[in-house]
């Protein structure tokens, strides 16, 4: 047995919370070892312990057969452990080369950075592992996938042999995920060991050699993908049977909540970015919008919300022509919006939940009372959301940034659905949340549909699109290129359509 890492009886307590207990994991050299679990199952704490950011209360860590004492990230780097953070630690206004060497610069003449030596070493890493990045590019010019490869190169540059990847696919689109997996295979073939933290069961089944499941701070199962299936993994994760969403077949109503006719739109530089869009959503219908990110989805949302006015054609949102009505009016008429970047666009992170409940409803009853904010109503309605959407928080006075990502998202969904809106725009509503939160969000979207709300579901998750949508529209380079029926289309066909291929 050739073990890269062995964790035994790891325990970590925070005041009032047991973050980790009785954690036992064995990770073989050259493996991709997945650690899965719901948000709050203790994965992150465990990785912080391994990376030296948190000290365990008890338990032992053995690296390459030797008992290790890890007190700081520097210690763990010294032992050949590298961390690829979920939120990239890169400077935009600097080159790839500079980002990689920072902190471990090769030096000549005492103070001068030996960029030539660094470049040679990085080029070697890039070619050995097929990372496909260019050292002289500015990071601000890079896409998400490339940035991630820079992070990986950064860790390899420091001589890491064990890589921890914290939810690496949360920010990637399907093609980028494939590229990442190719890179990871390349790394393990060269003898490196990878710890892959995730809650996406599909990916774990595809990539992992071994899977450890965590629940409530402890390890509950260790399985190989060949001996298990997604359903079983999900049950390990949540400790029970999963409710499976199913669309009750109802007939969408006649009335339309959205009518986009031949609309074109330009971006700030005057380039046409949406071309001849035709899109209708009926009340009581979920329209899925599939497409690789950056093909005009965000612009389309802005167009529908009235933030961007169409250059030609027309957009009528919940009965209002966006050329005349402004965003405020459209929102008040009954449009809910679940933004893609919840921390940036969806919440005031440093404000309590009840204040966040008011956000977007600050001018309408019951959240406002003339020029005054109705604090009581905001608090009691926050309580309703916390209950109905199972938001795990001690109270509605807690700051938004104290909640985990999944719970933040549930709160946003709850807020945007309050007051029974006529239409909901949901952009990546379950990205980066655990299966439990996902099920709750899905249930509520389906319920809203039954109540007669029209939903625009913008998603990169094909599974989600198939499960929830009545129809799927495919957007590609600013045009709607196809409408598909989820009951008769296969994921492969949809994937093909997203790349602009016409389905015969």
């Amino acid at each position: 047995m050739n073990l890269a890492i062995e964790l035994k009886g790891i325990e970590k307590n925070y005041p009032g919370v047991v973050a980790n207990h009785d954690v036992d994991i064995q990770i073989h050299k050259g493996d991709i070892h997945a650690i899965i679990g719901e948000n709050g199952a203790g994965k992150s704490t465990l990785m912080k312990i391994l990376y030296g950011m948190v000290k365990p209360d008890s338990g032992s860590i053995t690296i390459n057969g030797e008992l290790a004492s890890i007190k700081s990230p520097q210690d763990s780097i010294g032992l050949g452990i590298g961390m690829v953070h979920q939120h990239f630690m890169l400077a935009d206004n600097a080159t790839v080369l500079e980002n990689i060497v920072l902190g471990s610069e090769p030096i000549k003449a005492k103070v001068v950075v030996d960029y030539a030596a660094a470049r040679a070493k990085i080029e070697k890493i890039i070619s050995t592992y097929g990372l496909d990045i260019h050292v002289d590019d500015l990071v601000s010019d890079l896409g998400v996938g490339e940035r991630q490869r820079v992070e990986i190169a950064k860790v390899l540059f420091r001589g890491a042999e064990i890589l921890i990847l914290d939810e690496p696919t949360a920010v990637l689109v399907p093609q980028e995920v494939d590229d990442l997996f190719k890179n990871l295979k390349e790394l393990t073939q060269n003898g490196l060991t990878i710890i892959f933290i995730s809650h996406k069961l599909d990916e774990v089944m595809t990539i992992a050699d071994n899977i450890t499941v965590m629940r409530h701070g402890t390890t509950v199962a260790e399985v190989k993908p060949a001996n298990t299936n997604k359903k079983q993994l999900a049950e390990y994760m949540i400790g029970g049977e999963l409710p499976s969403p199913r669309l009750a077949s109802t007939k969408p109503r006649e009335e339309k909540v959205l009518e986009v006719k031949d609309a074109t739109a330009k971006d700030r530089t005057g380039r046409e970015i949406l071309h001849g869009i035709n899109l209708d959503i009926h009340a009581g219908e979920i329209l899925g919008l599939a497409g690789v990110e950056g093909n005009g989805q965000s612009e389309l949302i802005e167009l529908i919300m009235g933030l961007v006015k169409p250059d030609s054609g027309s957009v009528v949102t919940v009965g209002l022509d966006t050329k005349e009505a402004d965003l405020r009016k459209i929102r008040d008429e009954g449009v809910g919006y679940i933004p893609q970047d919840r921390q940036r666009d969806g919440l005031l992170m440093a404000a309590p939940l009840w204040e966040n409940r008011i956000l977007g409803h600050q001018e309408t009853a019951p959240m406002s009372n003339g020029m005054w904010i109705n604090k009581g109503a905001a608090k009691s309605d926050s309580e309703r959301i916390i209950k109905e959407f199972d938001v795990r928080t001690p109270s509605n006075d807690v700051l938004a940034n104290a909640l985990s990502g999944g719970n933040q998202q549930k709160f946003i969904v709850g807020r945007e659905m309050s007051g029974d809106p006529k239409m909901i725009i949901a952009a990546q509503p379950t990205r980066g949340v655990d299966v439990g939160a996902q099920a709750i969000i899905w249930d509520h979207l389906i319920e809203a549909r039954l109540k007669g709300t029209g939903v625009l579901l913008v998603s990169a998750d094909l599974d989600e699109l198939f499960k929830l949508s009545d129809r799927i529209a495919v957007i590609f380079r600013g045009s709607i290129v196809d409408y598909l029926d989820p009951r008769t289309t296969t994921p492969e066909q949809l994937g093909l359509a997203m790349t602009g291929e016409k389905i015969a």
Binding site: Q74, A91, D92, N93, G103, I107
Partner: protein
């Protein structure tokens, strides 16, 4: 995607060959204007020399601002640091000679820089508030110290005794030759000769030493380990910290240097330009230095360009105000040419705006004989506002300059 394009554009605009062409075009244009208006002072050696004297304090303040902002801290306190530089420069220059004075000016500025570091980095005070406090403190301290030290030494509460001057040098042979060539009024040749003559005639040794700060800053920022780490402290301090960079210490050093540079700029004014301390003699040059940082897109060479442009208008105003009036012709032609390039790209709005500017300035030029001094003083502020308004998409300030940073907290 759009940032990618803009970056390329920016790189092309700032590429050396393009810069050379632009410079050559402007030289020819200025030369023609000089010939046409008959105001020969625009390109005289005297004007060039004065431009250097007005540019250096702005350049030093600008480089000071650059050091601070590149490390992630906005330094509005440059003005106060400059004031301390003028005072320390004059007093220690009077006591121990001009070079000691200049060194003391740097120390005075550096102390204020360290104070700014303690307040913003350690205590966590808002950077603008701390900077303003330092400006008030600088002016007040100088006034107080003047009262204590100058009165007994032959100065007054707002004037110091005279400092011995630092010697100058002139390149022999070449300088007289170019000066006489400059007086012949030959198109372009005389103009270039006149300006170059100004750069090599009676140049103060202190000017030369100070200009060295520019290449030194570039070298430190882009070649050394400290420079790399300092830039990351301004771009993404959490990332820098996660890789073992001591952000606090780096910012302390950067702010001390920032203050020292501003102090040098101040000492240059009191020791070299006027030969004594006069209350209020910095006249807001610390703020203009910050404007030069923005104008120069946070690049050392850009800061020089900004400082030189603002220094030039300042120098011409002081020497002969009709010169500034003549330079309006340059603005008119530049705006007209620029509007034509917009026309070619079918950018009607840009065409209209630039043509409008050209016509407006032309009308102003025809109606008036001089540009009011107040406007010239206001010129750097106006330029900075215009740069911010029209080029902000292309500016690349350090991403985290001005943002509070606490160790261990993710921003």
């Amino acid at each position: 995607m759009s940032t990618l394009k803009e970056n390329r554009l920016w790189r092309i605009i700032t590429s050396p060959s393009r810069m050379m062409l632009t410079v050559a075009g402007v030289v020819i244009l200025v030369s023609v204007v000089r010939q046409f208006t008959g105001i020969s002072d625009i390109t005289s050696p005297g004007a060039a020399g004065a431009t250097i004297r007005f540019t250096i304090p702005l350049l030093m303040a600008g480089l000071g601002g650059l050091w601070a902002e590149r490390s992630g801290v906005i330094n509005i306190g440059l003005e106060g640091m400059m004031i301390l530089g003028t005072w320390f420069g004059a007093w220690f220059g009077y006591l121990y000679g001009p070079w000691v004075g200049i060194f003391a000016g740097a120390v005075g500025g550096a102390l204020a820089g360290l104070l700014h570091a303690i307040l913003t980095v350690r205590v966590g005070i808002d950077q603008a508030v701390s900077g303003l406090a330092i400006n008030l403190l600088g002016a007040g301290t100088a006034r107080f110290l003047s009262g204590v030290f100058f009165i007994g030494a032959g100065g007054d509460v707002n004037v110091s005794p005279q400092v011995k001057s630092i010697s100058s040098f002139t390149v022999p042979g070449l300088s007289p030759f170019l000066t006489s060539l400059g007086q012949k009024h030959i198109l372009v040749i005389s103009d270039v000769a006149g300006v170059v003559a100004g750069f090599i005639t009676s140049i103060n040794w202190a000017s030369l030493v100070m200009i060295l700060a520019l290449p030194l800053t570039s070298w430190i920022l882009w070649k050394t380990r400290f420079g790399l780490r300092m830039r990351f402290c301004g771009e993404n301090p959490s990332a820098a910290e996660s890789l073992g960079v001591n952000v606090y210490r780096t910012r302390y050093i950067a702010l001390a240097v920032s203050g020292a540079l501003a102090g040098l700029g101040g000492a240059y004014i009191s020791v070299v330009v006027t030969g004594n301390y006069l209350e209020g003699q910095t006249a807001g040059r610390g703020y203009i230095g910050l404007a030069a940082v923005i104008f120069g897109n946070w690049q050392p060479a850009g800061v020089l360009a900004g400082a030189a442009l603002f220094g030039l208008t300042d120098a011409l105003r002081v020497r002969q105000s009709t010169s500034v009036h003549a330079l309006l012709l340059v603005v008119i032609v530049l705006a007209a040419v620029y509007s034509l390039t917009k026309l070619r790209k079918k950018d009607w709005k840009g065409f209209g705006i630039n043509l409008g500017i050209a016509v407006f300035v032309l009308a102003y030029y025809m109606i008036n004989k001089v540009v009011p001094d107040e406007f010239v003083t206001f010129f750097p502020n106006l330029t900075t506002i215009l740069v911010l308004a029209f080029l902000s998409q292309k500016l690349r300030p350090p991403a985290m300059a001005g943002a509070p940073y606490r160790k261990g907290e993710e921003s």
